[in-house]
């Protein structure tokens, strides 16, 4: 369960990236976050995993009170989350296999189990043959799929994906959506920021539209668009 109460986020003097956000996302939901470039989608998402901290307001993620949690607890918050970063954030000096394994090593899984799981998710995103490559040897879309594979590897309670199909062709995007929906059916909450109107309209789910830091729309099965005006 994720809950935002009166959340504000101000970056510097003038930039208010989150403006009084009140939202509740229950376990098992699938939520799109849409909105124009620079509206505050990534900020909204980053606050969930404590990369950015709210200037004021209360955020609850699973059982963590983000405003009052100790720095030491942060890693444990993140272990229950699977995150696809907008800029991928793969470790440049680890191979693809090792990058995904890393997310499992931090929770001290056994090597055999790690190997099995990594192979499984690599297969899922259809990149098993790249497991020994380094990130810079992959195409943009391949890197993005690795980021997705890493995020689902530890079977997170919540999957947070920031623009996970930005570098993927429509067909591959459909494959990724199939993975996300399957994960969601198994009980994982999925939160996905996206600009992909085709996807949003083809796979309808709850839709949050953010504009100028505000929640402009919150609609179950809403079509792509914001301020009630579809594109």
């Amino acid at each position: 369960m994720i809950e935002f109460k009166n959340v504000f986020k101000q970056y510097s003097d003038d930039i208010i990236a989150s403006n009084d956000i009140n939202i509740r996302i229950d376990q098992g939901e699938f939520v799109y976050v849409v909105g124009p470039s620079g509206a505050g989608k990534s900020t909204f998402i980053k606050m969930m995993y404590h990369e950015e901290q709210a200037t004021s307001g209360e955020i609850t993620v699973n059982n963590f009170q983000l405003q009052t949690m100790k720095p030491k607890e942060v890693p444990f918050l993140r272990r229950d989350l699977g995150i696809v970063f907008q800029d991928f954030k793969l470790l440049p000096r680890l191979t693809i296999f090792e990058n995904i394994a890393y997310a499992l090593e931090v929770i001290e899984k056994e090597p055999a189990e790690i190997k099995e799981r990594v192979d499984y998710v690599l297969d899922l995103v259809d990149l098993a043959d790249k497991s020994d490559k380094f990130p810079e040897e992959l195409s943009g879309g391949e890197q993005q799929r690795i980021a997705i594979a890493r995020a689902v590897a530890n079977k997170p309670e919540v999957l947070i994906a920031d623009e996970p199909t930005g570098n993927l062709d429509p067909e591959t995007s459909d494959d990724i959506m199939a993975i996300l929906e399957k994960v969601n059916k198994q009980g994982t909450t999925v939160i996905m920021a996206t600009h992909n109107s085709i996807i949003v309209n083809k796979y309808p789910h709850r839709l949050l539209a953010i504009e100028d830091g505000r929640i402009a729309r919150d609609e179950e099965g809403g079509k792509y668009g914001y301020e009630n005006e579809n594109v």
Binding site: P71, K72, P75, I83, F85, K89, L91
Partner: protein, 295 residues
């Protein structure tokens, strides 16, 4: 920490050291060069120190024996001198021998005074256990029977003590400076390599790694860097020192001066170099990472 996790960290540190390529090479060679300097200078400083105290040990008490003393009385005096707890060695030197020395320094005309005309005294040269005890021993010797006078070098010995003292003091200061510099430069190099990897550390935190989990491989990598950086300096100092030691042994044989024997001395230096490398490498990593592990 589980044994498995430690093994994982160890493997990770080796992997990272290899994959960082030129960065690792640069860090290791910085450690190497720093430790070579430390090794060479410390070897020299410690030997200068040793030589200085050898020079000091040359200072001795000269006891002038009354002219009309018999052989027996001389022996008694010698025993008496040897009985002092501060005394290490007593050597007899006849007035004849001494005349030779005077002749050497001041001209042949002194040869006139050979035989019974010799104006000099037989002496006992007394070596003390500690150089500084000479004054005290000389004072005591003056009061003994059959002793005409006793000298210990007086002001010139005191001056020597001062010079040796200040050489040793400066040696300590330089050694301390040197160790500080080594510690600083090694940890600073490690710091720079870690600064250049702050993005990676940030990503590790974002995927749920605890500070300890992130820190261990870096710490071990720092230790490896230090360890690898210490190998060449140790080899260089060991072989170099033994080579120089053997080379100088012949020319020092005739004197009372000796370099520090390689055995224990090199063991100490090696231990010092390798510990600076490993400890500062690891500690440097540890400290440098704190900044990036705040939240």
């Amino acid at each position: 920490m589980k044994m498995r996790t430690f093994k994982r960290h160890l493997g990770e540190s080796v992997k990272s050291l290899r994959r960082n390529g030129w960065m690792s090479v640069a860090a290791i060679s910085a450690v190497t060069v720093t430790l070579i300097l430390v090794g060479v200078l410390l070897s020299i400083l410690m030997n200068v120190n040793k030589l200085a105290s050898d020079v000091e040990n040359d200072v001795q008490v000269r006891v002038f024996v009354e002219r009309k003393t018999t052989k027996n009385q001389q022996d008694t005096l010698k025993k008496k001198l040897e009985s002092y707890s501060e005394v290490k060695k007593v050597t007899f030197s006849s007035k004849k021998e001494q005349l030779q020395q005077v002749v050497g320094s001041y001209g042949n005309e002194f040869k006139l005074f050979g035989g019974d005309d010799n104006p000099l005294y037989d002496t006992f040269d007394v070596q003390t256990k500690e150089p500084k005890q000479t004054e005290q021993v000389a004072k005591k010797a003056k009061t003994l029977d059959y002793v005409n006078d006793a000298s210990f070098g007086g002001t010139s010995a005191k001056k020597l003590f001062k010079v040796v003292g200040s050489i040793q003091k400066w040696g300590m200061i330089i050694s301390a400076l040197l160790l500080f510099v080594a510690v600083f430069l090694i940890s600073n190099t490690i710091r720079i390599t870690i600064l250049s990897r702050r993005n990676e550390i940030g990503i590790m935190r974002l995927v749920g790694a605890t500070n300890g989990f992130i820190r261990w491989p870096f710490l071990l990598e720092g230790a490896w860097t230090g360890l690898l950086g210490a190998i060449i300096p140790i080899a260089l100092v060991d072989f170099g020192y033994i080579w120089i030691y053997n080379g100088l042994q012949a020319s020092l044989a005739s004197t009372s001066y000796r370099l520090l024997t390689p055995g224990t001395f090199l063991a100490e230096i090696d231990l010092l170099l390798i510990s600076i490398g490993i400890v500062i490498g690891a500690l440097g990593s540890f400290v440098s990472m704190r900044r990036f592990l705040k939240i």
